[in-house]
Symmetry: C2
């Protein structure tokens, strides 16, 4: 297997794009990635998306996007793993290039969540959970995360306000990202005033959904010696329903996929300069930090309280706003994370730049931890 | 890239399985494939499915199926390309093994179309087309195929009854397949009495939807010297909407993917002993035969009239019943085709056996030809 490099990055700002369809979003991001790479064509297209079948009535997004990119004939397919769809898409794109099967692969994540043809977004999102054992109880996806957060607070003795550093850091960082949906820092007072969505998940603990698309153009590293490299790539799974896990507070698929990615990259948590984690909910940020070796179980929240997750801290997270400030177009998120990490490693993250960033970790979570895609990217020089 | 072999085959009979959920269907087929291969585990799982997000409220089928197979932790993802989902799934499974990344991959196709939680199946299926340019006109997926069939009849001067050999052959062959939904031969008189669904597509020109799952266990060929080999594998795309094609009667993605697969396998149409084609509609059978080099444009129907598509003919098609008699659980179909071709090459097709079959072609079509997956399988000895 040969090494893979990221030659092009394309992003559509996360917004409520009432004037853009799912095809427009995907095509804009993919074109931007091609342009950034200085290429006219890709020879395969992998599209990550979660709700397009229901909300946009499209069940063949690979062909659709290839068609409107003018890349007629190329191999294309859509991949789905709930909110982990785009991370899983990156993974398959990497295998296609690493194997020697492809020379230039577009990995695109896209989600169109406004204008849903009368379909209910909350209902579509609970498809991330187990429909027959969780969804059927009437629990929403926010509700499932509320159960986990409540258990964590009980188990480790935290108060709600202890989670404040996660959204405060995300919104402070997002203010520097032109592609972020929200670019206004928040204070601890703002956090405390946030209304409850599903107790104890308040407004600022839950990421906003949105419309968006992000794309990367992948090539063999020997063809792009200066480009950011993929050092590690792994997807692991866990039980779909939370009640089937031995410990609902441990992201086993995060631990497992991170372990594989660390092994491939030959690095460990101490070598990571920034971590684009999946803060769909504040509790998920804490659990990711713990499962990836940055904190002991129950100590992820403490890392926030001690200021270690900010750009100046030991492990900067959500450096471009994370899911909370950049926004969470569910099936696109994993590729936004990878796009942002690539910009950081290029030194092209503008005011959000982490000085001297050389190795970045990204982690994209499907459901309450059932599919987790972990990637490690590195600078060459 | 190393060669890939098919070590295990598993199928659930296509039926209206009112007592089985989408997870049950997928798990049963996958377990059967593992058992057939004599293996306890696979190290990755690729699941093909089209409508599960809407009809079954599951948007993370990879993790769900891995979970209930007891394969906790393994990499898993769902792939979607409308009715071409399972062929595309096989393709990614092959790349994973051929690349050296994986040693034992389960490729599973599954669809659960009865009990749809109040959702409309016809609406879900039109997601195979372009929602904004085709679906919005109110056209159904059968309606789109009716437009193509009408045009073909007009262009080449055929009558409706000239298409009779396709369903007659399919139903005659399906009678020998225990996994087929319909096991009763039909006559020309039955065909002529079939009521119109969307003129000129009559009841026997359209395949029945159903519940089902089929699975293959893929390993490196060096580990299974006697197993059926994958000789060629390709996916190509075309415009999603029919009106965007220069010629609506030519399946460009079939021609292109077949050309790639022939090249990889080092064979041509004359070397093919049987062809499991995508007869979702009679017209698609004709167009597939033409695009893959078995007939000149406009002559696919003639091949049927001349008896060349039967088990005794020049190019036996739909040898286990095809989509029409086996049934068409949309996102599972591509893997049923591959499972059936594998059984034929093993000499294990029972009364449906094509004598001396050594090389088989399979072709799985998403939408009206927008994503087409073509595979060539071969016997070793």
């Amino acid at each position: 297997m040969r090494q893979v490099a990221i030659l092009g990055v394309g992003q559509v700002p996360v917004r409520e794009h009432w004037e853009l369809s799912i095809r427009d979003l995907a095509v804009q991001a993919a074109r931007a990635a091609l342009e950034d790479a200085g290429l006219e064509r890709a020879d395969a297209l992998y599209v990550g998306n979660m709700t397009g079948g229901t909300l946009n009535q499209q069940r063949q997004l690979g062909a659709l996007v290839a068609d409107f990119l003018g890349l007629w004939g190329i191999e294309a397919v859509k991949l789905e793993a709930a909110c982990g769809s785009a991370g899983s898409t990156m993974r398959q794109g990497i295998i296609a290039v690493a194997s020697g099967e492809r020379e230039a692969v577009l990995a695109v994540g896209v989600e169109k969540m406004t204008e849903t043809g009368g379909q209910n977004t909350t209902t579509a999102l609970v498809g991330a959970a187990d429909a027959e054992y969780e969804g059927i109880q009437g629990v929403t996806f926010v509700g499932l995360n509320a159960l986990i957060m409540r258990r964590y607070m009980h188990e480790y003795g935290y108060e709600h306000v202890d989670f404040a550093p996660f959204p405060i850091n995300a919104h402070a960082n997002g203010a520097h990202n032109p592609n972020a949906m929200f670019r206004k820092p928040i204070t601890r007072a703002t956090y405390e005033k946030g209304r409850m969505v599903a107790d104890p998940v308040s407004l600022f603990d839950a990421s906003p959904i949105g419309d968006g698309a992000a794309a990367l153009l992948l090539v063999p590293a020997e063809k792009a010696p200066d480009a950011v490299r993929v050092l590690g790539s792994a997807v692991a799974t866990d039980t779909l329903a939370i009640h089937d896990r031995k410990d609902p507070l441990w992201l086993k698929a995060a631990e497992e996929s991170a372990a594989r990615a660390y092994r491939q990259a030959g690095v460990g948590p101490d070598d990571i300069d920034l971590f684009e984690l999946h803060d769909a909910f504040s509790i998920m940020a804490a659990l990711s930090l713990e499962a990836c070796g940055f904190a002991e179980p129950g100590e992820g929240v403490r890392l926030g309280l001690e200021g270690e997750i900010t750009p100046q801290g030991r492990i900067p997270i959500c450096t471009m706003g994370g899911l909370k400030a950049r926004g969470h177009p569910v099936g696109a998120t994993g590729l936004y994370q990878l796009a942002e990490a690539t910009l950081q490693l290029r030194g092209a993250a503008g005011a959000a730049q982490i000085d001297g960033a050389r190795v970045a970790l990204t982690q994209n979570i499907g459901g309450s931890g059932a599919t987790i895609a972990t990637h490690i990217l590195g600078r060459t020089e």
